[in-house]
Symmetry: C2
Subunit: 258 residues, 2 copies
Amino acid sequence: MPNPTACILIIGNEVLSGRTRDANIQFLATELGALGIPVREVRIIPDDPLTIIGTVNAVRRIYTHVFTTGGIGPTHDDITSECIARAFSVPWEPHPVAWQRMADYYAKQTPPGDFNEARQRMATMPRGCVLIENEATIAPGFSVENVHVMAGVPRIMQSMFRALAPRLERGQAIVSATVHADGVFEGGIAAALTGVQLAHPNLDIGSYPYFRPLPVRGGVALVAKGTDADDVARAADEIEALLIDAGGVAVRGEPVTD
Amino acid sequence: MPNPTACILIIGNEVLSGRTRDANIQFLATELGALGIPVREVRIIPDDPLTIIGTVNAVRRIYTHVFTTGGIGPTHDDITSECIARAFSVPWEPHPVAWQRMADYYAKQTPPGDFNEARQRMATMPRGCVLIENEATIAPGFSVENVHVMAGVPRIMQSMFRALAPRLERGQAIVSATVHADGVFEGGIAAALTGVQLAHPNLDIGSYPYFRPLPVRGGVALVAKGTDADDVARAADEIEALLIDAGGVAVRGEPVTD
């Protein structure tokens, strides 16, 4: 059976403007790969209702899971939650559990906090959603069918993902092996590497040049990736051999470039 | 006249797998914003021909410019160039200038390099494209109509973008102002901030919580952004006032959180 698939939607003007460098894609891609739910696409979109609704409805039909980050706070630019309700054509309404929990939380603060209209928005959710708990804040995320709605702040998003992960049906974990060699460059090994790819059609064979200050110059890191660990190991052996043939000292693992 | 718009396409399995943390989005978003060509969408897609062709053809019709990074090297997984030719239904053929330059380059190396089939692929391009020069390597990028095809390695991509930028018609530069305050949280200022957004309908007003180790806890950074510098300055004054009303010490600029 093929693996389930994932799409990540990063919702936020701050990433599109360059103000913020996204920190969630790499975390989610790595974690989901380990669960056998490889990420097939990422889209970064603005805080615009029709864009959010249209994109959610496009990708939730293509991929097994959609993971959104951003736009579930209390301010006017946090519109993800109501857009998800509109995408699924369900009411956006107080979630009884989340509402009670947040009301209690603010009442117990010293001095008592104000569970005001802005904070109430964070307890207002699409009807029928399932909460995604988190240990970092009082406000939960939620899932509607295959769309999982999480915070944009990395610390909170990661806590939500840890709560969500056990609910996701896993595929076969993606296994990878990397071999690198200083002083070997892509143009000299491309033909041999094509041969490795053709011999292992179920694997992804990737080639990534790296650079270092002179006089070392850098080299190339070759990655074999797939769900069959034995196949990955055989490909890595062939990659090691071709790097040695090219005059390199083949080293298992990623190069250190910093 | 409204500003031109941009879409960034990051092409590469290595970003989707989490192996590589993208470094190009923030650079391009910042540079394009300064040119008045705001980025409206980013998509990260795999090295898969039909996905690349379909995505390029979808976004090039929506946005003024499309900037791609990745997949123009010499190895089997570098398929961006031929996919762009297929997207535009033009032949993929040797580019006379790029071909001659690369043949000369390898011939002049000591000992002479091999301008082999893999390297020839980097001089093979969609018919009618315009080269994007770069100072980092011998292999250029290229533009076909409004699609600008650049390398994925940040150093090379940045050099290509510097060569390309003067050819792009600029819009009005995006101006932004940030005011932050420790100890002020979004839930307490959301209503007042909505008022600022309503009073400045042509600006994007964004709210971004930040976190620091205890006992400071963090606070909120509020950003006003748009093409009218006076409007941005007035909004920043109002934001400063609302942060002071909320009991904060309002400070111009981004918070330091590291």
